[in-house]
């Protein structure tokens, strides 16, 4: 048995050179002792391995390449460090005997999915990669079982799971067994949620019930032009609603990263996606019991950022780009933005400060004045909860004029959705540092990691204005009917459009020159690294859904 394991390790480097196989055999006298049975078993093992490595065969592999897609094994090879992949269940085959499935030519070792573990920049990862060349990557009970096996181990060991999805859907020949397989995966997705990070990379079709596994994971990434996610495809849509829609329009990367918010980011092609995924993985801790990673940086922690001193325009109606603030402050301008094209009025993503992973949330004054609407609230809330679950400190940049008014927002439940962000921030016990760069108005001020929702350290830049609303609105209410609105407005501005009202009350801990912000945040993160906060026991909280 020990020899077998060794064997598989050597083989899974995907050597296409048959000579290496025979070499291995020569080094393994136990199988080559002349015993006829052993030899034939050995030949069968070898044959199965070879078949497993070829998936659905060369013709299908070529077809896969022609579509601009890599094969399941090529993808794994790019994703993990060279020579680190260890495969499980290479010999697994489906047990279906209906519709001619029992025939030998309909059996493929591995059954359409490659599973196992490897390392990314040295750290372990469990992964599965669906093989479209075998039955279109369709999910059989065996296929599902393989995925469940690595997920179970991932939870036991506290190691993240990455799924590379490329599957036509359920293995229809298996019927309910296939559906059961999906549910087994869903159940594990939920159990693993908050324990280990789960990442889905959609690299081909993913339709029907299958979409709910990526939807349950922490992050869903897509490959442009070659991946689709939908509950029902264009044909069914047409027959039910008579809508004419293409695959790409219905569930392509653009749709899900800009319109639906189902996917968190899209990448150019398979190679780009897998290499970016390696980068992304480096921001994450391995589990909820691990600290957020720290790595060396050459960007000095005490670097001043004079560039920020006058970035915020004095005229509070003028926009600026919050990404400029973020890029200037973080290590080496290395920002991994999540959902960059969806609800652009809020910016979320991962960065490092003095080498520590941090989660960054910022209102984006450049888009819709940075107001909070339904989509922005949900986007922010989901991100904040991920960071909180995985010990990633949160840094929040506030320039928010309030929640977006309007019937469409109210009718669609801005109250319910806005509450999600409030809930997420209030619930989070990771270090929370907040910088108010300009406007912090109304309820949105409370929501955006204010002192009142237990943020640890709150700063205001000299341009900060913490108030119930803008001067114009406030004056028209307080001094209703007063002729001299302009004068009153000026008075209000003088009184409230500055950081003092909040600073006097201790709602901000300090008024900070923008250039000092990086230095202070880096020090705060050191200090807060031992923060321990616990909430009363409960089965689970009841997030407004």
């Amino acid at each position: 048995m020990a020899a077998l394991v060794k064997y598989s390790r050597a083989l899974v480097t995907f050597s296409k050179n048959p000579a290496s196989l025979s070499l291995l055999r020569a080094g393994c006298p136990r199988f080559c002792s002349g015993d006829v049975m052993s030899a034939s078993v050995h030949d069968r093992i070898e044959e199965k391995r070879r078949a497993a490595l070829l998936g659905g065969g060369q013709r299908r592999i070529d077809a896969q390449h022609k579509k601009g897609k890599l094969t399941a094994r090529e993808r794994v090879d790019l994703l993990v460090d060279p020579g680190t992949f260890v495969e499980y269940d290479m010999f697994a085959e489906h047990r279906c005997s209906d519709f001619g499935m029992e025939k030998d030519e309909n059996k493929f070792p591995g059954d359409g999915v490659v599973t196992g573990h490897g390392r990314i920049h040295g750290r372990p990862v469990y992964l599965f990669s669906q093989d479209f060349t075998v039955f279109g990557g369709s999910l059989s009970s065996v296929h599902a079982g393989k995925i469940c096996k690595i997920m179970d181990q991932a939870m036991l060991t506290g190691v993240p799971v990455i799924g590379l999805n490329d599957s036509g859907g359920a293995r229809i020949q298996e019927g309910v067994e296939s559906l059961a397989g999906y549910a087994d995966i869903f159940q594990r997705n939920v159990e693993a949620s908050g324990m280990v990070p789960q990442i889905s990379l959609i690299m081909g079709p993913c339709a029907g019930g299958a979409v709910y596994s990526p939807a349950l994971t922490d992050f869903t990434f897509m490959v442009k032009d070659t991946s689709y996610l939908f509950i029902t495809g264009p044909d069914v849509v047409k027959s039910v609603t008579r809508e004419e829609v293409t695959q790409e329009e219905l569930g392509g990367a653009k749709t899900h990263t800009t319109l639906s918010g189902v996917a968190h980011r899209a990448f150019e092609n398979d190679i780009d996606a897998l290499l970016r995924l390696r980068e992304f993985y480096n921001f994450l801790p391995l589990s909820n019991r691990d600290p957020a990673p720290i790595r060396p940086t050459e960007d000095p922690a005490d670097r001043l950022c004079p560039v920020l001193d006058h970035l915020v325009p004095l005229d509070s109606h003028k926009p600026y780009n919050m990404l400029d603030v973020i890029q200037a402050l973080i290590d080496e301008e290395d920002f991994f933005e999540i959902m960059p094209k969806y609800a652009k009025n809020i910016v979320v993503g991962f960065a490092r400060m003095n080498g520590r992973t941090v989660g960054i949330v910022g209102n984006q004054p450049k888009v819709a004045s940075g107001c909070l609407d339904i989509n922005a609230s949900v986007k922010g809330a989901r991100f904040v909860r991920f960071c909180d679950a995985f010990n990633i400190p949160l840094i929040t940049f506030v320039d928010v004029p309030g929640f977006l008014p309007g019937t469409s927002q109210e009718f669609n439940g801005i109250i319910r959705h806005g509450a999600k962000l409030l809930y997420a921030y209030s619930e989070a016990t990771v270090p929370k540092i907040t910088v108010i760069t300009r406007k912090a108005y109304g309820g949105a001020y409370d929501v955006m990691a204010s002192k009142h929702v237990k943020a640890d350290i709150n700063y205001a830049w000299p341009t900060a204005e913490v108030a119930v609303m803008g001067a114009k609105g406030a004056v028209s209410i307080i001094f209703r009917g007063d002729q001299d609105q302009a004068k009153k407005e000026a008075e209000y501005v003088e009184k409230f459009a500055n950081p003092f009202p909040a600073a006097i009350r201790g709602f901000v801990d300090d008024i900070l020159e923008p250039r000092m912000t990086r230095q202070r945040i880096c020090r705060d993160l050191d200090l807060l690294s031992t923060k321990k906060e616990s909430r009363p026991w409960k089965k689970h909280a009841n997030l407004p859904l």
Partner: protein
């Protein structure tokens, strides 16, 4: 080899106070000491902004004079406002509501009690009315008398005066042009090529060259529009255009006691669209006799108009060293620093002294030519679009190379400054000097390599290319240099095989440094015991579309990169976070700037040009060959704004047929009108903007069907 090591890293001091930097930057070049016993003004107002305001204040500080700055809304945090002893708000951002509003400036003068005004260049510097207003209030104008401004401000009158003063003038026709037909008539009388320009405008703005009747008509139309919008005076001038000319100018200095002298010449032949880009002093072309003759004519002209203060007489010089008077600029010239470098004279100091009524202390024989000086005008421009179209933006990172010896950098901006569309897009004037031309050029090369400008598109690629161009180095230049050398427009540096390998090697080293660090977690207890990283990394660097397989190894003191059988050794004592990387490749010094690192894409600035290098693991490129290339989306039939500006006119409507090359709209930016043409024939599908609206760079103005 598995672990990530911290390297000893050379760091450029990042945060020296910009005020200190300015105070320090060029005192050493001056040989004209300040006589503290000589009476002078107590307080001077500088009626300008940007680098020239800072430049003037610097001399004021040297002379112990208090300074008053004026600033517009857009310049509230500008360096010139910070640098002055007093800074006063003058009005909204557009210059016709701020820096050009004489009454406001007069108010500020009264309020602050400034005794004199230095106008810098541009704005009110050659405005005789302003000079008169100041004189009426008894405030000294640091510049020539208004009579001289008036005489020289008009191109026709100035030529007549020059003729009378026995100064060589350009053959051609002088006259006011009434309409396009007359323009064509005059042009034919003179003979093509002719130059058409605004009578009232200075510099290259509004100058257009016509080689035939059609171009004469176009030139008349565009120039007169521009003249009207920029100067409020639509008079034009048409004259013979001298082929193969050099632009050489004489700096003159005169006092009110009848002394006048010339501070030698500046060669400003490297121009685009008749605007200077690179200047040098002295000119490689002039011999002592020509220099003397030119200098004496310049002085004669100054005397003829009772000139005082500093001025510049511009000449065109043909290949036979015949020189013709072009115009006289009655102000401090943009490129005055190079003259200061070679003569040691602080021209601003002398202007202030003359304005106070003092006599010049030097004689013509005291004016030396000390070595050589070169100036590059660093602009916020995209040099790949007709040698420079204005760009705007926010300087997210900015370091001047003034830590290098023999470098002077005159600027009025700092990290975090905004280059706005309201004013000239000049970032700075980078000046280097040396004992001879070769040294000055070498210093310029190094200074440009070390100049960090991020956030706005700038013309350093072009400047670096000019400075290193064999024809420029040999001195064989004329005002059409750029158009002759880059007939299809500037494309950036073309790398030699060796250079391409050097760029690939540097990118590979940056990649390796980043990859090794990626696995160097400080708080991870689940790393494997055996080394994570291979001893040698097989990668592919893609430079300018060419795949270069390479093997990279990090050794104790350096990296080894093997490309195509050739081994390059690269030092490793640079920081991946620094803006400038001093790399030694095979023992040779190279300066790179790492512009950005995004995924596998590393942008490196090398010899001025930014190269995008993709560095991928070798297996990634192997796999990429298995798949077909994604087809590129073809964008055609679209007219996009090449820069931010306002739409002056749109000459087509939806549904109209346009021909390839037909003008569809005109954009005005930075006082320049640019006509945009259709890139193919077709029917106009939609026009997305209206006349008079502002457009940003890359905005889609109209589409063809």
């Amino acid at each position: 080899m598995a672990s990530y090591r911290f390297n000893l890293v050379k760091r450029v001091p990042q945060f020296s106070s910009s005020l200190y930097r300015i105070a320090r930057r060029c005192c050493s070049i001056y040989t004209t000491p300040v006589d503290t016993n000589e009476p002078t003004f107590d307080k001077i107002l500088i009626a300008n902004r940007g680098e020239i305001a800072c430049r003037v204040m610097q001399t004021c500080k040297r002379m112990g004079i208090k300074t008053v700055a004026i600033f517009s809304e857009a310049d509230r945090h500008a360096l010139h406002a910070q640098m002055a002893d007093e800074a006063m708000y003058v009005g909204p951002a557009p210059s016709n509501q701020s820096y050009l509003v004489m009454d406001r400036i007069m108010d500020i003068i009264r309020k602050t009690g400034a005794q004199a005004v230095h106008p810098g260049y541009g704005f009110l510097s050659e405005n005789k009315e302003f000079a008169k207003k100041l004189a009426d209030e008894g405030v000294a104008f640091i510049g020539p008398p208004s009579g001289a401004i008036q005489a020289m401000g008009d191109k026709i009158e100035s030529k007549l005066l020059a003729k009378d003063a026995k100064v060589n003038v350009i053959p051609g026709f002088d006259g006011v042009v009434k309409d396009a037909d007359e323009a064509v008539q005059i042009a034919n009388d003179i003979g093509y090529p002719v130059m058409i320009k605004a009578s009232a405008g200075g510099g290259g703005k509004g100058m257009r060259i016509a080689w035939n009747d059609q171009e004469a008509r176009d030139g008349f139309r565009l120039s007169s529009q521009e003249a009207a919008s920029s100067f409020g005076d639509d008079r034009l001038l048409i004259e013979k255009f001298i082929d193969n000319p050099r632009h050489i100018e004489m700096q003159v200095l005169a006092d009110s006691h009848g002394n006048a002298l010339y501070l030698n010449e500046r060669e400003c032949s490297i121009q685009r669209r008749n605007q200077k880009v690179v200047e040098e002093a002295p000119s490689i072309f002039l011999d002592p006799d020509t220099r003397r003759a030119m200098g004496e004519q310049a002085v004669a002209l100054a005397r003829a108009v009772d000139y005082t203060s500093a001025g510049t007489v511009e000449f065109l010089v043909d290949s036979q060293k015949n020189f013709y008077f072009l115009e006289m600029n009655t102000r401090l010239q943009v490129e005055h620093p190079i003259t200061e470098c070679i003569t040691g004279v602080d021209i601003v100091q002398q202007m202030i002294r003359v304005a106070k009524g003092h006599e010049l202390t030097m004689k013509q024989s005291d004016i030396p030519i000390r070595g050589w000086a070169v100036e590059c005008r660093v602009y916020a421009e995209d040099p790949y679009k007709s040698f420079g179209l204005p760009s705007i933006g926010w300087l997210s990172r900015y370091q001047e190379p003034t830590h290098l010896p023999k470098v002077r950098c005159d600027s009025g901006i700092q990290e975090g400054s905004e280059i706005s569309m309201y004013y000239d897009p000049m970032i700075s004037k980078l000046v280097t000097y040396g004992d001879n031309r070769e040294e000055a050029l070498q210093n310029m090369c190094r200074a440009l390599d070390n100049y960090v400008i991020r956030g706005v598109t700038h013309n350093i690629p072009l400047l670096q290319e000019i400075i290193a161009h064999p024809r420029f180095v040999s001195g064989d230049i004329n005002t059409k240099f750029l158009y002759e050398e880059y007939p299809d427009g500037f494309q950036g540096r073309q790398l030699s095989d060796t250079e391409q390998k050097e760029v690939a090697a540097m990118a590979a080293c940056i990649y390796l440094r980043d990859q090794v660090r990626a696995g160097a977690f400080k708080n991870e207890n689940r790393m494997p015991l055996q080394p994570v990283n291979p001893a040698a990394w097989d990668i592919t660097a893609i430079v300018q579309g060419q795949e270069m397989p390479a093997t990279v190894t990090e050794n104790k003191d350096n990296f080894t990169v093997t490309i195509d059988g050739q081994t390059l050794t690269v030092n490793n004592d640079w920081s991946i976070a620094a803006a400038v990387l001093d790399a030694t490749i095979n023992g040779q010094q190279n300066t790179f700037q790492c512009i950005s690192r995004k995924g596998d894409e590393i942008k490196l600035q090398y010899k001025g040009t930014v190269f995008k290098v993709e560095v991928l693991p070798k297996k990634a490129t192997d796999y990429s060959h298995l798949m077909p290339e994604k087809p590129k989306v073809e964008a055609s039939g679209e007219v996009r704004s090449p820069m931010a500006g306002s739409l002056v006119s749109i000459s087509v409507q939806p549904g109209q047929d346009v021909a390839i090359g037909q003008e569809v709209c005109v954009i005005e930016a930075m006082k320049m009108q640019n006509s945009l043409t259709a890139d193919r024939s077709g029917k106009v599908k939609a026009v997305h903007f209206e006349t008079g609206t502002n457009v940003s760079e890359d905005d889609l103005i109209l589409e063809l069907e």
